[in-house]
Amino acid sequence: MTGKPSQVSREQGLQWLTDMTRIRRMEEKCAELYGQEKIRGFLHLYIGEEAVAAGAIPELGEDAAVVATYREHGHALMHGISMNAILAEMFGKREGCSHGRGGSMHLFDAGTRFYGGNAIVSGGLPLAIGLALADKMKNRRRITACFFGEGAVAEGEFHESLNLAALWQLPVLFICENNLYAMGTALARSESVTDIHQKAKCYGIFSAAVDGMDVISVNTAVRDAVKRVREKAAPAFLEMRTYRFRAHSMFDPELYRSKEEVEQWKQLCPVATLTARLRAQKVLNDADVQGIEKSVAEEIQNAVDFANAGHWEPVEDLLKDTYTESILSNLFTLNTAINNQNIRND
């Protein structure tokens, strides 16, 4: 694993703490809202893993594309989607970042180049390859970051994608969030070789394992990797060793791991350890922490209010955005609309 710098500036420290706190508190609120049935469908919380998104995404560059999974609230927030738009999306409102069509698993934002939100394990990797290929062909120097869980490593698509990235020397940064479980399947029960970062080396891709519970390590590793991707115009791979503190989704009785194991990992809580470190460095005091919590609480309250005040897409627009409405495709759209009309008016 890569080392960490000895000192963190107050400014940088507060930023990370704020970011991780925003993710943490937002998701705690999500769990609550799920209980109130404001949020439905599948909800996968990132709690425990905040150091990865908070440490990584600010290093990618303004113009980076991000491809993520169904456990992507934190990534969306870090990449610049507003909490308002995220919560409204989970409420299914038109004001949501996917206009209520996507929900928790499918946050999207063209403006910040956030390409989801993919609910098929490993399904996002080929998209990242393609985004990077487009950049390369157009001689743009921006990068594409692709986040996924260690469960994806068993999927064939993971291997096909890594090979393509290496073969074509594409500017993709793969970030594997190894939280040791894919639903209830422990890594050792799904991979014959459990050292995930080695997988990338099999394709000749630069690769490193990183302490994913520590935002500083994450940040340092990502900064180096991004530099490498840009300079060498070649892929890189980081395995973030992390842990989810909560259940896989809201339906998971967690039969597959012990309370003790979870408790042990909680000792490594990225928010708590950063707080302790900053305090030890004497660049953080109680007032700072309270300040952060207060502003985050406000942001969340505003977001909940915003989401509550949002609107439902009119049911007449059910078919909207299945196809592009353009002159060329008018007829297509028309036809389909007519056919569906029968159904909708059933």
């Binding site: 996507g102 993919n118 068993a154 894919a182 039969l255 897409e313 049911v315 909708r344």
Partner: protein, 326 residues
């Protein structure tokens, strides 16, 4: 006995595992996790890790391995967590499971059973709400069945395991929590035959799996309005039991087909065409169907609801076919 569809499938699995050493269950999270829908909860404790085999996220390889194990003399039950993920293993199903017997001139059998959850209705959005039964029902060499009643959920697996050819069981996710009275004698299950679940004389409502109860509810509502609907539960989606379907249509002279698949290319379309081919002169009205709207299923509750067949939409469509303008 009062029980749920989940329990019914679990006890079917349990019985199969007890009765035949060659049977094993394999799939993502079927063991330690207890099954994504808790269907196999407790089975790993009872039968061990070899026979309740957790797999990595490798749909193509483990489904193919199920096919290979069937070739090797086992009776694998492979759970593909949901039909959505089966898109990753279609090659194995279509090009190996379905063809090996024929391509080998009859030398090999593939007695594998694939179980998949199907359907929408839980706000899981576009990638997790598919109903692709019609695709599988298109493929020669496969048998496709879909339980709609508790008895069928309990009884179909045994028959599927007895079959020497690959069988796919589609279990609609909305059924698992449903409770009901399970008849003592589940031998009434016959996967070869569609079942008439309600006798009626005015119109045939043809449905299966997750839509059976919506259709039965619609039939009750229609009865209040003076329309006496017959409800046919397909049970087997491949092959289709033309005899039962046509007998019903020849009696009622009208048919409405209910199917959660997208309308274009739906199984409902196939059934309609069979009626139009074989019972054309018996029909007194155009055929009609109630399917899902042609849209990736959206997350928001009201939109998802509007996208799927509902009791209301079935009732309205039937009234339309009966000439009761709405």
């Amino acid at each position: 006995m009062k029980t749920t569809y989940r329990e019914a499938m679990r006890s079917a699995l349990q019985e199969a595992l007890q009765q035949d050493e060659r049977v094993f269950l394999m799939g993502e999270d079927v063991g330690r996790y207890g099954g994504c829908y808790a269907v196999s909860k407790g089975l790993q404790e009872e039968f061990g890790e070899e026979r309740i085999r957790d797999t990595p996220l490798s749909e193509s390889a483990f489904v193919g391995a199920g096919i290979g194990a069937a070739l090797g003399g086992m009776r694998p039950i492979v759970e593909v967590m949901t039909v959505n993920f089966s898109l990753l293993c279609l090659d194995q199903i279509v090009n190996n499971a379905a063809t090996l017997r024929h391509m080998s001139g009859g030398q090999f059998s593939v007695p594998v059973v694939l179980r998949m959850t199907t359907g929408a209705g839980r706000q899981l959005a576009a990638q997790h709400s598919h109903s692709l039964e019609c695709w599988y029902a298109h493929v020669p060499g496969l048998r496709v069945i879909a339980p709609g009643t508790l008895e069928d959920m309990r009884g179909m697996l045994r028959l599927a395991l007895e079959d020497p050819d690959p069988v796919i069981i589609f279990e609609h996710n909305a059924l698992y929590n449903r409770e009901g009275e399970l008849a003592e004698d589940s031998s009434i299950t016959d996967i070869r035959r569609a079942a008439v679940r309600r006798n009626g004389s005015d119109v045939s409502l043809i449905c299966y799996g997750g839509n059976l109860h919506k259709t039965l509810d619609a039939a009750e509502q229609l009865a209040e309005g003076g329309i006496d609907a017959e409800v046919v539960d397909l049970r087997s989606l491949r092959p289709l039991d033309d005899e039962t379907i046509l007998a019903s249509v020849r009696k009622t002279h009208r048919a409405v087909l209910i199917d959660e698949g997208w309308r274009s290319g739906s199984l409902a379309g196939e059934i309609g065409m069979r009626i139009a081919e074989q019972a054309f002169y018996d029909l007194d009205a155009p055929l009609a169907r109630v399917c899902s709207a042609e849209v990736p299923i959206p997350y928001a509750a009201h939109l998802e609801h509007a996208a799927l067949p509902q009791v209301d939409t079935i009732v309205e469509k039937v009234r339309e076919v009966m000439g009761q303008n709405v």
